[in-house]
């Protein structure tokens, strides 16, 4: 399991009710179910991935977060997880609002466009950056709204969303992001992980 999922799992206490939005093949769900006794549900748009989840014995709903989150009642989950998908929605702001309505807390991770390798790629190669977390070409990427850790940090603050914890992830190392080291983390981290509440 990738390090990102370990960091997410560490943010969630045992026996909670969790919704994994864009749960893919259910790797994180399975881990949470088996290791933390989490009452876990998933929402996934890909039929093949839904089938993989069913084969793992996971409860998954085939659906689109932009349309299908509205059926869940307010604060019906302790945590709602959204891993590296926010940038792929037509309307990320609406999805973020929905995550925070459905979940008491939300855990959102974003691939950081401010990561130094991304900046170097664009600066020296002059082509759209391709990295481990941004593997696609400009013409086939699902990402529509790339942002940096700094962008996301400012964005949630402007929406009066409370940040409980923000972590910068670079390979196997995670470290706390705060107001004073934001510039440095925005350069050094591949991925940002945010535990937020509204």
């Amino acid at each position: 399991m990738k390090n990102e999922f370990q960091v997410i799992a560490d943010l969630i206490e045992k026996d909670k009710k969790v919704l994994d939005v864009g749960c893919a093949d259910g790797t994180l769900m399975k881990f949470l179910k088996d290791n933390k006794n989490i009452n876990i549900r998933g929402l996934e748009i890909s039929k093949e991935k839904v089938q993989e989840c069913i084969a793992k014995g996971l409860t998954v709903i085939e659906g689109n977060a932009e349309k299908d989150l509205k059926q869940f009642p307010d604060k019906s989950f302790d945590y709602v997880v959204l891993s590296q998908t926010l940038q792929a929605f037509l309307n990320p702001e609406l999805v973020l609002d929905e995550l925070l309505r459905v979940g008491k807390k939300a855990i959102v991770t974003i691939p950081n466009f401010g990561y130094w390798k991304v900046r170097f790629h664009l600066l020296f190669k002059g082509t759209m950056p391709i990295t481990k977390t941004l593997p696609d070409e400009w013409y086939n990427t699902p990402n529509l709204h790339m942002c940096t850790i700094k962008d996301f940090f400012h964005f949630v603050k402007s929406k009066d969303i409370k940040i409980f914890k923000s972590l910068a992830l670079n390979n196997l190392n995670s470290s706390i992001i705060n107001e004073s080291n934001l510039g440095v983390k925005n350069l050094s981290a591949d991925l940002g992980i945010f535990l937020i509440e509204k």
Binding site: A55, L58, V60, I61, F72, P73, S76
Partner: protein, 371 residues
């Protein structure tokens, strides 16, 4: 129409009050079982059949000598694995494969015909509930069925919220739409317009309204397929001829196919039963039973739901299946959902659709492991 041999029957002594107000008692429910019930009695799956199905789910139907209607899904090592599970299926009341229906006799020994009480999906599941007592099963492992079978699944878990661990409605709806009712009415009109129907009293003169019933079946059959499926299978291919004959014979393969479907149906199905069961489907509106709030139908159950729809099913389209998912999610129920890619239309659930069969198998087996 019924050959009594090979039909297992449970006589329900307990009176059953029907939605129409009448009460029936000492009535037969014809059923079949596959696999064996384990000692803990926790491996039973109750399967509900659709409009023209019967209790003979798999293997050879001993009455028609044809394959059971769900042979692709049910059997040893199949999605519903009879090596592992005990499968029970019964003919719905109103049916014509041995359960109490319009071809049965009334207390005065006169064949009911249209004097048989109008039954509902609710009546069907209340009647079938007696099978649990019969087998001494306190709680089923699962209930499943497609189309009208799915309606019974929904009604069953609403009526008996703690009687099944898992619930699998397939290609169904919680409320029959205007389009559904319209197609059923077309079928009923075809039957009642047949001069042999005689207000439902045809059995006494040994002549069935076969032409009307065949037309009903032909029209319905079209609704079970998709436009793409039909086009790919038949297109404009001609039936055993080089060119058009400039007449009204079956020039096209699709015509010949539909005529065949109509004719074989008449041999195994009763016209009055067709009226009764389509009526039961039309009357089905689970939300209405709960003052318009579908979620309330499921408020008392802790069962785990898995809902399946098919992309090309325009009779019970994905959205109608999703409405059930939405109602369940809004009360925090344990519900999974998948829409299976298939161009085989509504009939997909009866056919060899590997993604569907593997999803069904995985859901059942994984849920059973967690037992």
């Amino acid at each position: 129409m019924n050959t009594e041999k090979n039909i297992k029957t449970l006589i329900v002594k307990k009176p059953l009050k029907l939605d129409c107000g009448k009460t029936i008692k000492d009535f037969p429910i014809a059923y079949e079982t596959y696999g064996s019930l384990n000692s803990k009695k926790d491996n039973a799956i109750l399967v509900f059949h659709a409009l023209t199905g019967d209790q003979f789910v798999t293997g050879t139907n001993p009455v028609t000598n044809k394959e059971g209607w769900w042979s692709y899904a049910v059997g040893p090592d199949k999605a519903i694995d009879t090596n592992k599970y005990f499968v029970i299926c019964s003919n719905v009341i109103g049916g014509c494969m041995g359960s109490y229906g319009p071809s049965h006799k009334d207390p005065d020994q006169k064949i009911f015909g249209t004097n048989f009480p109008v039954i509902t999906i609710n009546d069907m599941v209340n009647a079938q509930y007696n099978l649990l007592d019969h087998f001494g099963i306190d709680k089923l492992f699962s209930i499943t069925g497609g189309s009208m079978g799915g309606m019974q699944v929904l009604q069953f878990i609403s009526n008996f919220p703690d009687k099944s661990k898992t619930v699998i409605p397939i290609a169904t709806t919680s409320s029959h739409s205007a389009q559904n009712i319209a197609f059923n009415e077309l079928g009923r009109q075809a039957i009642t317009a047949d001069s042999n129907w005689k207000d439902g009293n045809y059995t006494s003169n040994e002549t069935n309204p076969g032409k009307g019933l065949a037309v009903a079946r032909m029209a319905a059959h079209i609704t079970y397929l998709s436009k793409k499926g039909l086009q790919e299978k038949f297109g404009r291919k001609l039936q055993e001829r080089e060119d058009l004959k400039f007449g009204f014979d079956a020039d096209f393969q699709i015509e010949s196919y539909l005529r065949y479907q109509g004719s074989v149906f008449v041999d195994r199905f009763d016209a009055n039963t067709y009226l009764y069961i389509t009526r039961a489907m039309d009357y089905f509106d689970l939300a209405k039973q709960f003052k318009g709030n579908l979620s309330d139908a499921f408020i008392n159950t802790k069962a785990k739901f898995f809902i399946i729809s098919f992309t090309s099913d325009w009779l019970y389209p994905t959205q109608e299946n999703k409405d059930i998912v939405i109602a369940l999610n809004s009360i925090g129920a344990d519900v999974g959902f998948v829409e299976i890619e298939s161009d085989k239309g509504h009939d997909s659930f009866l056919l060899d659709v590997p993604d569907f069969l593997s999803a069904l198998k995985n859901f059942l087996d994984k849920s059973y492991e967690e037992n």
